[in-house]
């Protein structure tokens, strides 16, 4: 590292602090104000659960997502389908506010994502496990419950929902792969957030368990939650009211499964997808 590099690094650091500290102060005030406004409202506004407008993401000069625009209505299950490397995870990270956007905007129930107010409304299940292997199931869920302002009771409730009661006091590291991913799901379900964003929640699960989880998702949607579920398995489309088909960073289609199959004259979502990309994958 040369002297000027060091200077630039130091300057960048000082600059980041000088912008970060006022931002923290602003956050505290804005989230307080937002809570006051929300408390005063009789009915939450009828904004779509997710609104993505002209979203663009570039990583290392490579375009990962291009010109993505769609709405997800509240109270529905939307499937985000596409092959591996299509940009599903980047899209999901953009929605939950973990991705720096190259352009466009994402809002959650009318609020810009990556704000404390928006974070309070959603549960996110990452594609990796993102749980502490050296803690028990209950310790994991209770910790994240504390971090999201939920009670111990709510933590125990979601453990029951993902059917891990018998394993509640087992270390996560000694669970099977499918059980571990259910711990991760349980954390996303904490307090039944209005929006659930699940990145490949059923990958690696046996068919019986997969079916039971889809029943759980349907029950949550019936109670008013909005779900966005990604998958690279096209037959999971049957459980969704809306589908987002993604390939090569572009949104190929946004429709109901029935309309999609009618439009492409096919009788499965998988065939529609192949039809849409022109017969070649």
């Amino acid at each position: 590292m040369t002297g000027s590099d060091l200077f630039i690094t130091a300057y960048a650091l000082i600059y980041r602090i000088s912008t970060w500290v006022p931002k923290q102060i602003l956050h505290i005030f804005s989230s307080w104000a937002m809570r006051r406004i929300m408390a005063g409202m009789q009915h939450p506004q009828e904004s779509p659960a997710i609104q993505v407008t002209d979203l663009r993401v570039t990583l290392g000069g490579q375009p990962i997502l291009q010109d993505i625009t769609f709405d997800v209505p509240a109270g529905s299950i939307t499937g985000l389908l596409g092959p591996n490397g299509a940009g599903k995870t980047t899209l999901i990270r953009s929605i939950v506010g973990r991705q720096r956007l190259g352009g466009g905007a994402v809002s959650i129930f009318g609020m810009p994502t990556a704000t404390p107010a928006a974070r309070r409304l959603m549960g996110y299940m990452t594609q990796g496990l993102s749980v502490y292997g050296d803690l028990t199931v209950r310790q994991n869920v209770r910790y994240f419950a504390a971090m999201t302002g939920r009670s111990k009771q709510q933590a125990d409730d979601v453990i029951t929902e993902v059917e891990l009661n018998e394993k509640a006091d087992t270390l996560v590291n000694s669970l099977s792969g499918g059980q571990k991913s259910r711990v991760s799901l349980a954390i996303a379900l904490l307090g039944h957030p209005k929006l659930l964003v699940l990145d490949e929640p059923t990958v690696g699960l046996d068919p019986v368990l997969r079916k039971r989880l889809w029943q759980l998702f349907e029950a949550l949607a019936a109670k008013g939650s909005t779900l966005l579920v990604s998958s690279h398995v096209m037959d999971e489309a049957d459980h969704c009211q809306n589908l987002l088909l993604v390939r090569g960073g572009k949104l190929l289609a946004h429709d109901t499964p029935a309309a999609l199959m009618e439009r492409t004259h096919t009788d499965s979502v998988e065939d529609s997808f192949i039809q849409l990309v022109g017969g070649k994958l």
């Binding site: 993102s130 910790y143 971090m147």
Partner: protein, 244 residues
């Protein structure tokens, strides 16, 4: 920032250590064993050992907490748990203060055991008394934790994180006055030592060893140590990105 979330994070970190008994045992047992070995290394130089032992009481917690924290936070980044936390309505300071609190508590336990061995069993006399020794040791550990938190941002693998110990702690260790009094070192090394935090935690231990009363210099040293610690914590919070 919320005290409840800080305490929850500290509790979670301690719970993880509770399940990892071997790490816990190493943290608590290694320092007193090493100091005991040192006593027999200096068997014929009682005077020299009595001067060294308290300084080492300040260095151990710093070095060990630095290593443990840098690996722990790196793991937090690589397993995605930090990713998940950053989508939750928490402040980055909840996270870093939680870590600092947990490891400072552990450091207190470590300092108590090591001090008990040094002052009780190995007959080292410290004019300042036990309490200032413990205070200095805990603040040194706090500094180690916060430095570990900060540097873990610059490591992308455990291999790199472990190398930060020789890269960042060793130069400070060589120049802090442990081996040679700082007045006898070349001027550039003195300048270096004067701006490095470890110098002040070792200097504080020297003060405690040699002076019966709580001196102004001891207060100054400890304030410098705490100041460096808080600065490293804030820098650590800045290096955690909400969006990447």
């Amino acid at each position: 920032m919320s005290p409840r979330k800080i305490i929850a994070t500290a509790g979670r970190v301690l719970n993880q250590l509770h399940h990892d008994r071997r790490t816990l045992a190493l943290i608590l047992v290694v320092p007193p064993v090493l100091i005991t070995i040192l006593k027999y290394v200096f068997e014929d130089q009682e005077q020299l050992f009595s001067g060294l032992a308290p300084m080492i009481l300040g260095i151990f917690p710093l070095v060990i907490m630095f290593l443990v924290t840098s690996i722990a936070t790196l793991r937090e980044r690589s397993t995605g748990t930090l990713d998940r936390l950053m989508t939750m309505p928490i402040s980055k300071l909840d996270f870093v203060f939680g870590y600092a609190l947990a490891f400072s508590a552990l450091a207190f336990l470590q300092a108590c055991i090591a001090s008990l061995v040094v002052l009780g069993l190995l007959d080292v006399t410290v004019l300042g008394g036990t309490l200032p020794v413990l205070v200095t040791a805990v603040l040194s550990a706090f500094l180690g934790t916060t430095l570990g938190l900060f540097v873990s941002a610059f490591a992308t693998s455990e291999f790199q994180a472990v190398q930060f110990m020789p890269a960042i702690i060793m130069p400070q260790l060589l120049t802090c006055g442990l081996f040679v009094a700082r007045e006898h070192m070349a001027a550039p090394l003195q300048w270096f030592a004067n701006v490095m935090p470890l110098t002040y935690s070792v200097d504080a231990m020297k003060e405690v060893t040699l002076r019966a009363a709580w001196t102004g210099r001891l207060t100054r040293d400890l304030l410098v140590v705490v100041g460096f610690g808080v600065a490293a914590l804030v820098l650590g919070a800045v290096t955690i990105r909400r969006q990447d």
